[in-house]
């Protein structure tokens, strides 16, 4: 039974404001399931390292970069502000992406792996031909990605269509288009699968669908369409 932190702050909004300035910093979000509950698709060992070490490191470094950015901006130190951009993109992106990722996964017992229905299911069929075709496309793009990155199913709000995209490193989906909303992201950094699947990324991709939380993606899709 994996240990979970009992902190319940909403991770993507303010956590502890810096006393002097009210700068909003961030904290590690809870997982809505135990580390072992996604087995055998993703091992407990990976889930724990991924959450407690990798995601936590992005948050720690993001907070640090934000504090430095805040100080530099207040002083009008333009070159420091510019210098910090890559640290903010890496670590802030890492925090954004992983926060979405944990919600994209769910144990089988609460519906992980169950294909989408309703308007979202229909949108998938009309955009990709079939649910299977979407899976195949995401697997192909995810496997072909060189180095580290993510493969996404996104909603293009402007053109009202679903798209499959990849981003490198920790670039969030929005770096591929301002109107793109992430519905589903699959982490294909080696840390996401190596201890279990080693070099065989395609096997990781094949298996992760068993614990994908289509309900979350469907909810985001419906909400965006309602706007």
């Amino acid at each position: 039974m994996a240990l979970r932190t009992l902190i319940t702050r909403n991770p993507l909004r303010a956590a502890a404001p810096l006393a002097s300035r009210g700068l909003q910093t961030f904290s590690l979000p809870d997982l809505p399931y135990d580390y072992g509950e996604l087995e055998p698709a993703i091992s407990a060992e990976i889930m724990q390292l991924h959450h407690q070490k990798h995601h936590q490191a992005y948050i720690t470094n993001y907070n640090k970069a934000l504090e430095q950015l805040d100080a530099a901006a207040a002083k009008g130190d333009a070159s420091t502000v510019v210098k910090l951009q890559s640290a903010i993109k890496f670590n802030g992106g890492g925090h954004v992406n992983h926060s979405i990722f944990w919600k994209n996964l769910a144990p089988v017992r609460v519906g992980g792996g169950e294909p989408p229905h309703g308007s979202f299911g229909w949108a998938i069929d009309s955009n990709f031909g079939s649910f299977e075709a979407l899976i195949q496309k995401m697997n192909a793009e995810g496997a072909a990605l060189q180095g580290s990155g993510w493969v996404w199913l996104g909603l293009d709000k402007e053109f009202k269509r679903l798209v499959v995209e990849t981003t490198g490193n920790q670039d969030p989906l929005v770096t591929k288009g301002a109107s793109l909303v992430p519905l589903l992201g699959i982490d294909v950094w080696e840390h996401a699968y190596y201890l279990q699947y080693k070099n065989v990324r395609p096997d990781y991709l094949k298996n992760i669908w068993k614990v994908i939380n289509w309900k979350y993606a469907s909810d985001v899709f419906d909400k965006e369409n309602a706007n």
Binding site: L49, K53, H54, A57, S86, F90, Q146, G147, S148, G149, G168, N169, Q170, W189, E190, H191, Y194, L195, K198, N199
Partner: protein, 304 residues
């Protein structure tokens, strides 16, 4: 890193007489010549790239880099790059070239061609295995130690910078110690004031498959910081992996040999440039003509 000759296999590509690497990038043909030549051409080396093993047993770097890591890193990752590269280049112009030439040709000035990834990663991994040895670590000696001191201030300062580069290469990539013999980047120009000071040791980091050959540097040492290089042994603890690499694995002997070779290459290039300069000056019969400017006498060239 030159590929082995393979005379027995029928030659499937046309023999290219162009040896100028930069020239060939412009007209890189992707023909697959299906007609197989029954007799082997003498003197043609098919660049069937080898899956070269490390110069030590796979378990020799335990416990700092485990056998299991080598079984996957060398046995699967490196092997896949070799196999995929060979599949990509068979029957093409690249099949006759050495690995270094393939890398430069497919780097294509940054507009990467498909085989680049595989070619560069094959080269990088060979270079990486050879950068380590059982009982490695310690300090460099001789000229290498002197140059490190000259260009970094001290060995400790170099180690610090190298470790920082390796730790801050975000995502997948490599950190390098390179020898930089400062040449001008323009094809037909020469450095007007070459000096020993232009040549120095530098630490660089590179993403994914990129390596310093494409910047025209001479690599001397590398560490692989793709997660697959350390995840089985160190998980997320990349800084620990890097420290262990420096303290227990680096083969300073290999680095010294590479430095010698790099300096020799740089000296040879200078001699070549010297020769070309002398030839040009010897051959030119007339002074270069001043450029004639045609200005209309009714128009002001600066008119808005």
């Amino acid at each position: 890193m030159a590929a082995a000759a393979a005379f027995a296999t029928p030659l499937k590509c046309t023999f290219s007489t162009s040896h100028n690497v930069s020239g060939s990038t412009r007209g890189l043909h992707w023909r697959k010549n299906e007609r197989s030549v029954k007799r082997a051409y003498r003197g043609v080396i098919t660049a069937k790239i080898d899956h070269k093993p490390p110069p030590y047993a796979l378990e020799a770097l335990e416990p700092h880099m485990s056998l299991e890591t080598f079984e996957y890193h060398w046995g699967k990752h490196h092997r896949a790059y070799v196999d995929n590269l060979n599949k990509q280049i068979v029957g093409t112009e690249l099949d006759t070239k050495s690995l270094d030439e393939i890398i430069l040709a497919t780097y294509n000035k940054g507009d990467l061609l498909p085989p680049f990834n595989n070619a560069a990663q094959v080269w990088n991994h060979e270079f990486f295995w050879e950068s380590m040895k059982p009982g490695g670590g310690g300090q460099p000696s001789g000229e290498l130690a002197e140059l490190i001191k000259r260009d970094f201030g001290s060995f400790e300062a170099f180690v610090s910078e190298f470790k920082a580069a390796a730790a801050t290469q975000f995502g997948s990539g490599w950190a390098w110690l390179v020898y930089k013999a400062n040449r001008l980047d323009v094809g037909n120009a020469v450095n007007p004031l070459p000096s020993e000071e232009d040549k120095k040791l530098v630490v660089v980091k590179s993403p994914n498959a990129i390596n310093p050959l494409v910047y025209d540097y001479s690599p001397l040492l590398t560490i692989d910081v793709w997660e697959h290089a350390y995840y089985l042994d160190y998980q997320n603890r990349r800084p620990e992996y890097i420290s262990t690499f420096m303290e227990k694995l680096v083969s300073w002997d290999a680095v010294s040999l590479r430095l010698e070779a790099a300096k020799a290459r740089a000296a040879e290039r200078e001699r070549e440039e010297e020769r070309e300069r002398d030839e040009y000056e010897g051959n030119s019969q007339t002074e270069p003509q001043p450029v004639e400017m045609y200005l209309s006498d009714t128009e002001d060239s600066e008119a808005d």
